[in-house]
Amino acid sequence: MIHYLTAHRLAEMMGKGEISAREVVGLHLERIEELDQHLGAYITVEKDRALASAREADEKRRRGEKLSPLSGIPMALKDNICTEGIPTTCASKILDNFIPPYSADVYERLQRAGCVLIGKANLDEFAMGSSTENSAFKITRNPWDEKRVPGGSSGGSAAAVAAGMAVFALGSDTGGSIRQPSAMCGVVGMKPTYGRVSRYGLVAFASSLDQIGPITRDVRDCALVLNHICGHDRRDSTSVDVEVPDFEKGLEQGIKGMRIGIPSEYFGEGIDRGVKERVEEAIKVLENLGAVCDEVSLPHTEYALPAYYIISSAEASSNLARYDGIRYGRRAEGYSDLVDMFVRTRSDGFGREVKRRIMLGTYALSSGYYDAYYKKAQQVRTLIKEDFDRVFEGCDIIVGPTTPTVAFRAGEKTDDPLQMYLSDVYTIPVNIAGLPALSVPCGFSEGLPVGLQFIGKPFAESTLLRAAYAYEQSTGFHKMHPQAKEASRDEI
């Protein structure tokens, strides 16, 4: 079961010469060939390029060069992360022919670490969605139950890691797009503090909320990947120049005496019983590990979702205006004049959800409505931040569910956007406040993975990782993997 091994375990094995990067990458490519036609996690698979970089990694090892623990490790990048010379589509028709002449900061960093890009992962178009059903190209199935969605928008990234088609992946998280699919696919996913990871080369959805983060098979891998993607980047003005600690250090220090806040608002109406029970069990585990858990209140939680849909849609309406068919991407044919060209290009090029958000955002920013919507939403944002600030005066981290439900059935919520939006109700406040948070598997409900969310103070990723590691090591849910069943394939 090589394909379910973690990066740190593979690094150990490669270090001892038990396996080569070429073999690891080859096995993952085979796995993709075997499963992905069905799972739909990848938009692009870079077979030749991946094998070449794997050989290069092996060659460097043979020469005795100093290698990072991620050297030779196959990874997937969400297809809204720019990769020089490799298509970057954002799962949108409007960019289906786009090959960027530059790379995202995170990709450059991971290349320097020797990681092997195995492919570009599917997502909801421009990362707008919670089920990966909004991709213009294909849907992605949940490896635990192929009738279910993997969550979204980083559904391809989470499914690839869960199904053993990549050792780790990067996603982007604007309102939960890393944590929610990670929870639904039973893997570890982290959204770092806003400004911790450069957004340079991440195709913007909502600039003030977007953050890139890792999706991994365990907490240690999460720390390892973080070690390589964090850091100040002068190309991103919102990237913060703070020291990047070694996130792997201190993982094993335990959580004795750690003060954990349990927000009552995260256990109210709308949460599945199974999810609630798993999370309550997890809180007991944390207490048994020596943490002090207390109920806390984040009173403005219910306003986070509407504020989020105004802010994110407003920013998106502006960020996506550049796709006009003039310079790159797809241009519609048969237009009669300039305005007609804009209208046709954008009408044909964008999917329904993207158009919905553009219209929402355009409306919210329009003169006469700005104060009632955008400005009000920004005021709510301040209140939500203050909620967290207040709670963090009395505790070190906050713990709760990542999502209100387990993975839902494909097609179940596609006609009811509001229901779909509610899937992110516990993750959105974190983006609004710019905080770090991670989701770890905490058991199953209806045979599907449940995610436990850890929320931290700004730049306190190390504390989150320490708590999540302690929890993970004492439970072992990360060692459970979906059965990629031949049988289920016939059913669908």
């Binding site: 957004r199 080369g201 407003a314």
Partner: protein, 477 residues
Amino acid sequence: MKYETVIGLEIHAELATETKIFCGCTTRFGGEENTHCCPVCLGMPGVLPVLNRKVVEYAVKAGLATNCKINRFSKLDRKNYFYPDLPKAYQISQYDLPLCKEGYLEIKGDFGSKRIGITRIHIEEDAGKLLHDAEDGSTLVDYNRGGVPLIEIVSEPDMRSAEEARLYAEKIKSILEYTGVSDCRMQEGSLRFDVNLSVRPEGSSGLGTRTEIKNLNSFRALVNAIENESARQVKVLESGGEVVQETRKWDDVTGKNTSLRSKEEAHDYRYFPDPDLVPVVLDEEYIDRIKRELPELPDVRSRRYVEEWGLPEYDAGVITASLPLASFFEECVKEYGGDPKAVSNWVMGELMRMLNEKGIEADGIPFPATHLAGLLRLVDDGTISGSAAKRVFTEMFETGEQPKVLVERLGLSQISDEKVLTEVIKRVMDKNPKSVEDYRSGATKAMGFLVGQTMKETRGKANPALVNKILKQLLDE
């Protein structure tokens, strides 16, 4: 009824930075199409803007030089609209918190002195340029100019005539040049004017409906457009009509003033703070440093010329209005060492005449200031006469050569050798005994004839002052 015109100006100036406002591309004018571009100024997916510090510095400089208050906290906003020359489909500009606000300038004219208020100065990025192919009807875009930093200087509606507007615009131009904030190359479009104009019955204090005339890029166009639009509005009102609030276009070549779009068609720019950029926070130390670094501004320099060098106020005003002209003048005065007024006479006279005649700006004077100083000295030491100096000047303007060389080539040097002149004069006296006799018997005007004969004998090269002196001596002997 008599009408009064009310004018406010929005002036866009390209800043003299090396690189663009949000990326490292060059701001150099021209170049092959789309070669001064990168993913950032082309607004490609995923790239981010990073504010050029120099842009903030220049804008603050412009603000301090125009008596503005500097906002300690300011931010950048997105102005959203679709147009092919705007790669991101939004322009990064400043909406409600500009870098500078509440300044003013003094203008001087026949009406005396007048203060024009400056509402605000903000920074923003320029757009690209559309190129229309008349042959096949296609349109291409050149993004070289896209992302070049601009400041927009917005005035209060304080001007009442085309003349005032021109004086104000010229004052802005000279301040931007003095501070080095912009090179103000008008022919390259680095200084452009938008006019807001309304008319009202004289004596009334309310404001009429205004129109906006966009993108005027010369002082001539500014004056013509204002006069034309002002007359048009008066005509509309006098024929019982109403002025429509709209944006208009002025074509300086055809003199046509046409409607571009009405208020109803006006864009809703949906301004909001750019989340890709962080607010600009300035501290006192920073502002003080820029204040200290401000050069001497035109008004101060003009006063210095009047008070220290005795120049007429008008001359001082004209010379200091243009930084290159003032610099030329000052260098010339320094090099010459004589009376600055003599230099000013040449600058205001011959130099300005030639510049106007050739249509050359003061930064294109085809010879160095040292040449003019040299020319003045040649006159002072009697090597050439004043009228010869004018010939040398014209030639100097054409060729850029040293005045000494030109005097030589044109054979203009005067005979100032007393011995030589004494001989010539003695010869002339010998040839004209009658005139000598006349003079000596009291008809002093006969001397004029003898001077003329001496000049003729020397083919005009004799130093007239010396001729007079020597002749008088000889006659009075």
